[in-house]
Subunit: 327 residues, 2 copies
DNA sequence: CTGAAAGCGCTTACAG
DNA sequence: CTGAAAGCGCTTACAG
C-alpha cells in the first residue's frame, strides 16, 4: 500500500518529461503535439495512473477537501444535509470531511484550525455558533457557505429558507382554521433561524388581531430538540390556558411536545394541532399526526456546492432561499 | 489564506535547522539539547506553528485521514455510528472523511479508489457490499474495520453484535410470553447481519417446538428499510394467519410494519407485539409501542478507533462483539 | 547534539 | 512543442 503510481512512472513509460505529463493530465492538450498526447494518454491508461491529490494539494496550497462543520449529526435534518452535500461534492470531484461540533464553540474552533491545516478549499458551516475561530475565518475571506443559520459573527453566503415567511405561513394556517389559542415552542438558546421563525409567526398573528399576551410562548432547554420540546411541553400544558394550536420550530421539538401531550391525555390532532418546521420524511412514518413545513434538505447539497463553485470562480453569492412546501 | 507557517519559519526564528525543529515537533526531545528544545518551543509558540498534515502525508506516504464508507447516512443507526466514530477519531488526532455509497457497489469502488489516492491511513466500512475494489482492498492488507456487516468478500476485523444471539433472544421473549404465531420481517437483499438475526430467531423457535411452517417469514423490497417493512407488512397482515408477534431486524422496518398494521386497524401492542433490533433513542419518542434490542451504536466509534489503533500497531484484532440491551 | 541533502508527487514559470 | 529546475512542507538517513 505504499507504492503509488506517479507522474514519473507515466513519463518514463511515454518517454517524455513529467512536465508534459502533468500538463496533459490537467487538460492542457493544446500545448503538446497530438502524437505526444496520444502516447501519454496510452501510458496513463496502461499503468492506471491517477493524480495524487496530496502532492497536488501541497503544491497548490489547497486540497480538494471541503470541510463540513455541522452542529449535530444526530439530528436527521443535518444528517440529510450532510448526505446530500457529500453526494454533490463527490459529483463535482471534491471530498467531504465531516466534523461534528455538538454545538460547542471550542470544538468548532478546533475543527476550524484543523481544517485550515488540511488546506481545505472550502467550508460548509451548518448551524454555526459564534467563536473566535469563526470570526477569523470570516475575516480571512476563505470560501464559506453558511447553512440553516446565518453567519453569527458577520455575514456571508447563506443557504436556507425564508424562516420569517415560514413562521408567518403557520400563523395564517392556524388563523384560517379558526384556532383561538396559538402557542409557539422554541429552544432557549435559539439560532437566527429559530428566532426568525418565531418572530414571523408572532408578527403575522398580531397582524391578524392577536394581542401578544394571547399567544403562548414557551422556550425549552435540553441537549436535543426532543428534550427542548418535552420540557417546554410541561409548561405549555400546565398553564391556565391550553393551546389549541402549536408551532414547533423543528420536527424534533414537535416529537417532544407530542410526548408530553400524550402523557397529559390530550388528543393530537383534535384537542390541539401541532405544526413543525422541518418536514423530515420520517414524519410520515412515525408522526402522522404532525403537519409540517417541508424544508427541502435533500436539495441543499446541490445548492451549497453550486454556491461554493460560484465563490471559487470569484463570482458573488449572497444567499439562496429555497422554497418550502406546506400542505 | 495561502500563507502557512512552516518549519522553516520556526527554524529561522529559533536559529536552528528545520531538521531540528522537525524532530522536536515530533517529540524526539532527547536528541536536542535542553536549551535548543526550549528555544524551539518558544519559537513555535511565538509564531503559532502547527504541523502541516499535507506535507507530512506526502513525505510519509500516509495521511491522518480515515475513510468512513457507509451504506446510507439517512439511516439514523449509521448516522450515530458516523457521529461517534468521528468523535473518537478526532480525540485520537485523526480526521474523518465521509463517503455515502447508497449501497451501490460502483460508488463504493469509486470511493475506495479516491480514498486510496488520498493516502488515508485506515478504512471503516459500515455495511459494505461486495465489489471489485473491496476485494482489492481486502487483499492489500490496508488497515480496515468492518462494522455491522462482516467483510462480504473475505474476512477482517469486525465491530458489531452477536446477531444470532440477538435473534434468539427475541425468540425466547416471544415464547416466554406465550405467543403462538411469530413472524419475522427482513430485507430481501439482506446482509450477513440480517441473515444471522433471522436464522438465530428461527433456530431458537425450532428449538422451542415450532415447526418451520408455523413461523411467518416475510422479506420486503424497497430503497429504505421503512419501505421494506411497509411492503412486507402487506403480506404479513394479508395472509390466513395474522401474527401475534413480529421480529423486525431493524427499527425502520418496524416503523414500516407498524404503519401497515395501523392501516389495517390492528392494535400494537395488543393484537400483536413488535420487537426490533437497533433500539435507536428516537424510539422512545416516536415509537413507544416498539420494544427493541438496543445496539450500543454510540460506543461503536470508540471500539472502531481502538481496533484501528491495534492494527496500526501491528497487533491483531479479530472481532469485537458488543453487548446489547434487551428489556 | 545538529545540519545539509534528498525526496515524497505535483505544478509552473522559464528557457529553449 | 518540450524539458530542466525550483519549490510546496515535511521527514529521515547520513555525516559530522
Amino acid at each position: 500500500m505504499r507504492e503509488y503510481i506517479s507522474l514519473a512512472t507515466v513519463a518514463a513509460r511515454a518517454g517524455v518529461s513529467v512536465s508534459t505529463v502533468s500538463r496533459i493530465v490537467n487538460g492542457e492538450m493544446r500545448r503538446a503535439s497530438p502524437a505526444t498526447v496520444a502516447r501519454v494518454l496510452d501510458a496513463i491508461e496502461a499503468v492506471g495512473y491517477r493524480p495524487n491529490p496530496v502532492g497536488r494539494a501541497l503544491q497548490r496550497g489547497q486540497s480538494q477537501l471541503v470541510a463540513m462543520i455541522a452542529a449535530n449529526l444526530d439530528n436527521p435534518a443535518m444528517a440529510t444535509i450532510a448526505s446530500s452535500t457529500e453526494a454533490a461534492l463527490r459529483e463535482a470531484g471534491y471530498v467531504m470531511v465531516l466534523c461534528d461540533t455538538h454545538d460547542r464553540p471550542e470544538l468548532q474552533d478546533e475543527y476550524l484550525y484543523a481544517m485550515r491545516a488540511q488546506m481545505v478549499c472550502g467550508y460548509v458551516l451548518v448551524a454555526a455558533v459564534p467563536s473566535r475561530g469563526l470570526s477569523e475565518l470570516s475575516a480571512s475571506g476563505a470560501p464559506t457557505v453558511f447553512v440553516s443559520r446565518r453567519n453569527p459573527v458577520g455575514n456571508g453566503p447563506f443557504v436556507g429558507i425564508d424562516d420569517c415567511a415560514a413562521g408567518a405561513a403557520v400563523a395564517d394556517y392556524f388563523a384560517n382554521l379558526g384556532r383561538r389559542v396559538p402557542a409557539v415552542v422554541f429552544p432557549r438558546l435559539g439560532s437566527s433561524a429559530s428566532r426568525d421563525r418565531v418572530s414571523g409567526f408572532l408578527a403575522k398573528l398580531r397582524e391578524r388581531g392577536w394581542s401578544d399576551k394571547a399567544i403562548i410562548q414557551a422556550d425549552g432547554e435540553g441537549r436535543s430538540h426532543l428534550q427542548v420540546g418535552y420540557n417546554a411541553g410541561a409548561r405549555i400544558f400546565g398553564g391556565s390556558d391550553t393551546p389549541d394550536s402549536i408551532l414547533c420550530v423543528s420536527d424534533q421539538i414537535a416529537y417532544g411536545v407530542n410526548r408530553r401531550a400524550l402523557e397529559r391525555g390530550l388528543k393530537i390532532p383534535g384537542d390541539c394541532d401541532i405544526v413543525s418546521i422541518d418536514g423530515t420524511p420520517l414524519n410520515q412514518w412515525v408522526a402522522p399526526w404532525l403537519k409540517s413545513i417541508e424544508i427541502p434538505y435533500a436539495v441543499y447539497g446541490a445548492e451549497i456546492v453550486a454556491g461554493l463553485q460560484l465563490i471559487w470562480r470569484g463570482e458573488s453569492f449572497g444567499e439562496r432561499l429555497l422554497p418550502y412546501k406546506f400542505g
